[in-house]
Amino acid sequence: MAETKTRKKKSSGAKNGGALEKHGIGEELALDLLRDMLLYRRFEEKAEEAYAIGKIGGFCHLHIGQEAGAAGCIRPLREDDYVITAYREHTQAIAKGVDANAVMAELYGRVDGPSRGKGGSMHIYGADVRFMGGHGIVGGQVPLAAGIAWKIKYKEEDGVVVCFMGDAAVNQGGFHEALNMAAIWKLPAIFVVENNHYGMGTAFSRVSATPVAERAISYGIESCSVNGQDVLETYAAFRDMAEEVRNGGGPRFVDLQTYRFRGHSMSDPVSGTYRSTDEVEERKKKDDPISILRDTLFDAGLLDQAGLEEMDAEARRIASEAADFADASAHPDPEELFHHVWAEENHGRLFFDGRDR
């Protein structure tokens, strides 16, 4: 995260002091949100290290820079609420209650991962904590979210489902079909576009004639834009929205403005023809959700450097513990290859690969 500038602290003191009140967020909660984001940051930095030395393979999409989209959106939810998302989901899994050690074990492809190493970075699930994955087909999770919301309504529960997607996902037909169904059936779903302005190397402005926020108008779904780098604003927005949706307010659509500090995946460059290094550095300096909250708490006198360092040490400890846990976890046995293909055996043959060969 970027260094604090003393000048900034002074000048913005009053304003920042008021930020908590403005959003109706208490001190402990604010500190927890910082703890959350620090953990996510350190956790994924660990994953980066592990990837670099080949402990993690395949695609690995980091949320670094977008952590408020995990802490701010998910902390306000209830345990019985659902979350579903795409492949940039490590932090959101942890936020919904999947154990950090287990998430790291999944990245390592080990049996202590929620999918016993079969899913990997893009397919983290936590059925017990209602974290519904972890999906790799862009936009694929959006109709699923409608189905989860359908179940909530069908069972006359008062939960909500929060469905995350990237900005590029709004160009998928399934997104539209799902939003239309959510609208006609007033499903309790919050569709959140984590709008980091790029789909891989393509700026959203090049693949849409209108801003993200306008993409739900056609369905009459209430939309709003939220500053996804300000975790307090994000938290407040989701706290209030979840309440309204819970009480039958119907679906919502959120343009969560954010920015990706890393490359699209570990194998992609941070910057290139599609965005300049300056742009990235600028945003990292100005728009780091952790620095922003840190400064707010400093200015409000709720946190000092020592306290921050303590917190950060704790985050680093959990992250490296997770890496150690993952590394110590066993590789799946060969026979696990054939487990979990079928939930139910029937009479007759289900596998056709001639095991003897």
Partner: protein, 326 residues
């Protein structure tokens, strides 16, 4: 035993399973107010209300995905495709979500969902409405494929499919809906998935098939009978899981096999069955296995062309004679 149509048998199966389990619901185009494009869901809206019998927009990808999400959350959706021809729009959710979810989550999310509707050709509906789609679903591990050919099989298998905890592509036939047959009255009449049915006992040659082609196979068997040839007619009923024991039994009895299917040959069901038989009963084969399929062309509209594009009893007879070297 009551005599009823294939349509009524499906309707009963749906109604009974919805009675039995409040988590079962039916969603698709025209299934509610219109009683279904082919009236399979007649009366269900009245009986179960619009939360359990749901008219969807024409959004195959969307409502198939909605079904998958609902199944993840614990419901048991029955998703009707007006025909599987339209399910090409939805197949990403069937293969990439439904068929793979249980594996990707290492068993956290069973997928008790049925995708049902007619497959194959009816009468003169032309290329975009006449395709037999089995291969697109049977190819992928994680997806079961059921193809009932009679009213009794339709009822017993649909009930089994709805109770199954894996995704099932349940493929019916437009031309079967009006077909009548005897169906056991028992409310709990179930035909387990993966059990083939020897619909005719012969001994000279084996005609193996699935779905609506069973009736063509039986016609062919009758014609052969006139020539003094007795054919086994084996109806696979489900093509995944597959009753390989039943297949090998008839093959070892007759040593001669013709596979009959409604769809195209290239990488069709017959190709798979043929490859397995020659591998597992090589020394029992007295002749190559022949396949009778739809002509390898998109289905034409013209009545005369469509008639010769479809597999016929005569072509089956010819193939049987060839494997009998007559």
């Amino acid at each position: 035993m009551a005599v009823m149509t294939y349509r009524e048998a499906l309707n009963q199966a749906l109604s009974e399973e919805m009675e039995r389990d409040p988590d079962v619901f039916l969603m698709g185009e025209e299934v509610a107010e219109y009683d279904g494009a082919y009236k399979v869901s007649k009366g269900l809206l009245e009986k179960f209300g619009d939360q359990r019998v749901v008219d969807s927009p024409i959004s195959e990808l969307g409502f198939a995905g909605l079904g998958v999400g609902a199944a993840m959350a614990g419901l048991r959706p029955v998703i009707e495709f007006m025909t599987f021809n339209f399910a090409f729009l939805a197949i990403d959710q069937v293969i990439n979500s439904a068929a793979k979810m249980y594996y990707m989550s290492a068993g956290q999310f069973p997928m008790p969902i049925v995708f049902r509707g007619p497959t194959g050709a009816a009468l003169q509906l032309s290329a975009q409405h006449s395709q037999a789609c089995e291969t697109y679903y049977s190819h992928a591990p994680g997806c079961k494929v059921v193809t009932p050919g009679t009213p009794a099989d339709a009822k017993g298998l649909l009930k089994a499919a709805i109770r199954d905890n894996d995704p099932v592509a349940f493929m019916e036939g437009e031309l079967l809906y009006n077909m009548k047959g005897e169906v056991p009255d028992d409310d709990d009449f179930i035909i387990p998935l993966g059990v083939a049915d020897l619909k005719r006992e012969g001994g000279d040659v084996s005609i193996i098939t699935h779905g609506k082609m069973i009736h063509v196979a039986l016609q062919a068997a009758q014609k052969l009978e006139k020539d003094g040839i007795e054919a086994d007619v084996l109806d696979l009923r489900t093509i995944r899981p597959l009753d390989m024991d039943a297949i090998l039994e008839t093959v070892k009895k007759t040593n001669r096999v013709v596979y009959l299917e409604e769809g195209w040959p290239y990488a069709g069901t017959g190709a798979q069955i043929t490859a397995m038989i020659q591998e597992e009963a090589f020394d029992h084969l007295d002749a190559p296995i022949l396949r009778v399929t739809q002509a390898d062309v998109p289905m034409p509209y013209a009545k005369g062309l469509e008639a010769i594009a479809k597999p016929s009893a005569d072509r089956v007879v010819k193939a049987c004679n060839r494997v009998l070297y007559r």
